[in-house]
């Protein structure tokens, strides 16, 4: 049993939890995640370890409510317990002094890139972070990121704050200016990671993406999280979740993520119906929706034209 020490709403539908997990707090490294269950009959879901306090024995998890399990998590209050928190899982992000690193994240991905930015900076890198959200009120961890990175750029899709546009826009501009970039890290919805991948492909800037296939055990036992990287099957939970972006088969990832779409919908609808208050406003996965709207299903193949039109 893992006690929730505190809970805080960072943006509509995005909540931060501080949870007791001493062994995990001791050992976790950037890029690692936990698998948790919210209740005894619940699903096992992966959540990145956004931060940790080894002295206090706690870890920080930032969760966006997209479906039933993350909504149930959102209902949890400080003082309550999570039955299972297992970790730290996954291979830590490969950190060394690369030089100048650009770290991009959208939506709740900011929570996932935050420890990577911290670790890169500690290793002596100059880190430019670019974070984005659909609009200003959905932006999370701005202050933390400003502290962690050497330079922070913020974008909003609706222009309500920072640069008007998607997170790839400033990256494109940096590349146009011929700025030296030694490595790119990108975490967010697949359409965003894919767009960044296509942007850095021609110039071969090493680009790392953190993949988020559906997981069950997180220990390499089920094979459900398999992704194709460089033509080979990899298990994201033990061989990743970080991979060389230019080698990833994103089409397959997108397809496999949707495997349980109808069941997820059914579960969510039942859950929402069960909430008597009729709190039915669907605050789900805004970033993914925006990117999906901007990049229709065939976009993978011509994302360069997408970049041209969107990021001039």
């Amino acid at each position: 049993m893992h006690k929730i020490l505190s809970k805080q709403t960072l943006a509509p539908g995005i909540k931060r939890f501080e949870v007791i997990a001493p062994e995990i707090a001791q050992r976790r490294k950037a890029g690692q995640f936990v698998i948790l269950r919210v209740h005894e009959e619940g699903e096992r879901i992966p959540i990145t370890i956004a931060d940790a306090n080894p002295a206090k024995g706690s870890i920080t998890l930032i969760v966006q409510e997209v479906g039933m399990t993350t909504r149930l998590m959102g209902e949890k209050k400080a003082g309550e317990f999570l039955p299972d928190v297992c970790g730290p899982l996954g291979d830590p992000t490969h950190i060394e002094n690369f030089g100048h690193c650009v770290c991009l994240a959208g939506g709740v991905g900011v929570a996932e890139i935050y420890p990577v930015v911290q670790a890169l900076k500690t290793a002596g890198n100059r880190v430019t972070a670019i974070i984005g959200a659909r609009s200003h009120d959905l932006l999370i961890l701005e202050n933390e990121m400003r502290q962690a990175a050497n330079k922070l750029l913020v974008t909003t899709d609706d222009g309500s704050y920072g640069i008007h546009g998607l997170v790839i826009k400033p990256l494109q501009e940096m590349m146009n200016r011929g700025e030296k970039i030694d490595r790119v890290f990108c975490i967010g919805p697949v359409p965003m990671m894919r767009a960044v991948t296509e942007l850095t492909r021609p110039t071969k800037i090493p680009t790392i993406v953190s993949l988020n296939p559906v997981m069950v055990d997180g220990t390499g036992m089920c094979g459900g999280c398999r992704v194709t990287v460089g033509g080979k099957i990899k298990f994201a939970c033990v061989d990743g979740p970080d991979f060389d972006a230019h080698e990833v088969d994103f089409d397959e990832l997108v397809r496999r993520q949707q495997m349980y779409r109808s069941e997820e919908k059914e579960a969510l609808e039942r859950y929402v119906k069960s909430l008597e208050e009729g709190e039915t406003e669907k605050k789900s996965c805004q970033m993914a929706e925006i990117f999906q709207a901007l990049m229709p299903s065939n976009a993978g193949k011509n994302s360069e034209s997408f970049l041209d039109s969107k990021a001039n």
Binding site: C86, V216, D217, T219, E263
Partner: protein, 463 residues
């Protein structure tokens, strides 16, 4: 005085096939007291009982059976427990036909004694009587401690033996439930979870500490455990699923048996949406393989409503490695066996969902190193079997996590941990291993046998 032989095994009451494919309740219902006494009375009480040697842990079969025949079920369970800590499990899942019952003298001419069913009966009797009170009183505390990695049959056996010898034992398990394959792999209809839980509760009552959600190699390393405990036992099993490496294997609707069974057993996907985890089972399901894992997956698919549940196996019925009883049950349940066939590709639609498997027919050639006749493809025999779900159950190897994170731990072919088969000692002092992690996928009782030997060796190491 020659005893009159009763030639046939006493049948065990079972749910009717038409009924049981609609539920996940146990198939076999177990003997009544009278049936058990009657079956036990079939035993010849041989002067030179060969059955004992047929049992991998050497249960004194004639003696326990004799107690059953005389109605002393309590004494019977004590005799079994001298050698086997999980009789309710073994009575249900051991491949008796290739162990004790294979060599039973009566089997030469008639049907062998139903040793497995009697073991099950006795264990169930004891569980119902004991109300969870520990059956053993642990020895005086030794002050020594042992970390057991993995809560499967191997780890549980080591824990049980060592706690009874007075050592402090902690079991570290990666999943949120203890039991290994018994909890995530073997379905409820063969091994009810409550029975396993009762065995685990017994160990807890004896003082074994359980730490779930604890992945050794991630949460803590073996070397760190070694600095906190006097010895470490690794029983992490063979949980790494193998795939076929054919085109289309990552299409939506293709599962490894581990994922399929884990969703259904550990996560109770058959209770979705009451439980949260979903699973996709189509109307036409093909399971690839012929072992217990394949048999469990295909029978589960049937229970999940598959109209056609195919078992695609590249050899013939004679070579099926699954337990005979389960093959028989599967046949009764209408599983469609497709022998001498092997998939060469998985076919999908434009949206990436499985539509079928392309199969090539096989014939049997000369025996290979496993002693079984080698399957050989028949050229131009390919055809497509229409299915919407595929479950790959062609075997599994040890998870490399521990080997990768434990310097000095020697591994061999397919990543198994190299051990001394008599003691379970690894190349690393103070570290022992056993069960599937040292042998590759085997059986519950062999994992337990390895656990017993390792426990004795660890006890020696600590003394």
């Amino acid at each position: 005085m020659a005893k009159k032989v009763i030639p046939e095994k006493t049948p065990i009451p079972e749910q009717a096939p038409e009924l049981r494919i609609t539920n996940f309740n146990e198939v076999a219902l177990g003997y009544s007291d009278d049936q058990a006494v009657f079956e036990a009375s079939r035993c010849l009480q041989c002067k030179k009982p060969v059955c004992i040697a047929g049992c991998p842990v050497g249960i004194d079969i004639p003696r326990f059976v004799d107690m059953v025949a005389h109605g002393d079920f309590k004494r019977a369970v004590e005799i079994i427990r001298e050698k086997n800590a999980l009789p309710a499990v073994c009575g249900r899942v051991c491949p008796q036909e290739s162990q004790c019952e294979l060599v039973c003298v009566m089997g030469k001419k008639y049907q062998p004694l139903a040793i497995g069913r009697l073991e099950r009966f006795v264990a169930d009797f004891a569980r119902e009587q004991s109300n969870g009170a520990p059956l053993f009183i642990p020895a005086k505390k030794t002050g020594k401690s042992v970390a057991v990695v993995g809560g499967g049959p191997a780890g549980l056996t080591v824990a049980g033996e060592l706690v009874r010898l007075g050592h402090r034992v902690t079991v570290f398990e990666a999943l949120h439930k203890i039991g290994g394959v018994l909890v995530y792999g073997i379905p409820e209809f063969r091994l009810p979870k409550a029975i396993l839980q009762a065995e685990v509760d017994q160990l807890a009552a004896l003082g074994v500490e359980f730490r779930t959600n604890y992945v050794v190699g991630r949460t803590e390393m073996v070397d760190e455990l070694l600095s906190r405990y006097n010895a470490v036992f690794i029983g992490t099993g063979a949980g790494l699923p193998y795939f076929m490496n054919v085109p289309g294997e990552n299409l939506n609707g293709v599962y490894s048996a581990n994922e399929f069974l884990t969703r259904l057993n550990l996560m109770r996907a058959y209770l979705f949406p009451r439980w949260d985890t979903p699973v996709k089972v189509g109307k036409r399901v093909a399971v690839i393989g012929g072992g217990n894992t394949a048999m469990d997956a295909v029978r589960t698919a049937k229970r999940m409503g598959a109209e056609h549940a195919y078992l695609v196996y590249r050899r013939s019925r004679n070579e099926l490695p699954a337990r005979a009883e389960e093959v028989h049950h599967a046949e009764e349940e209408g599983i469609e066996f497709r022998f001498l066939e092997a998939p060469v590709a998985v076919k999908g639609d434009a949206k990436g969902w499985v539509t079928g498997i392309e199969i090539i027919k096989m014939q049997l050639g000369e025996p290979d190193e496993s002693g079984r006749r080698r399957p050989l493809p028949i050229e131009n025999s390919n055809y497509v079997l229409e299915v919407d779900t595929v479950v790959v159950a062609i075997g599994q190897g040890p998870n490399p996590l521990i080997a990768q994170t434990t310097p000095g731990l020697k591994t061999g072919k397919h990543g198994v941990i190299v051990v001394d088969p008599e003691t379970g000692a690894t190349s690393k002092p103070g570290v022992f291993a056993g069960g599937d992690v040292a042998t590759g996928g085997a059986t519950v009782i062999l994992a337990m046998g390895a656990g017993k030997k390792a426990a004795q060796a660890i006890h020696g190491f600590l003394s």
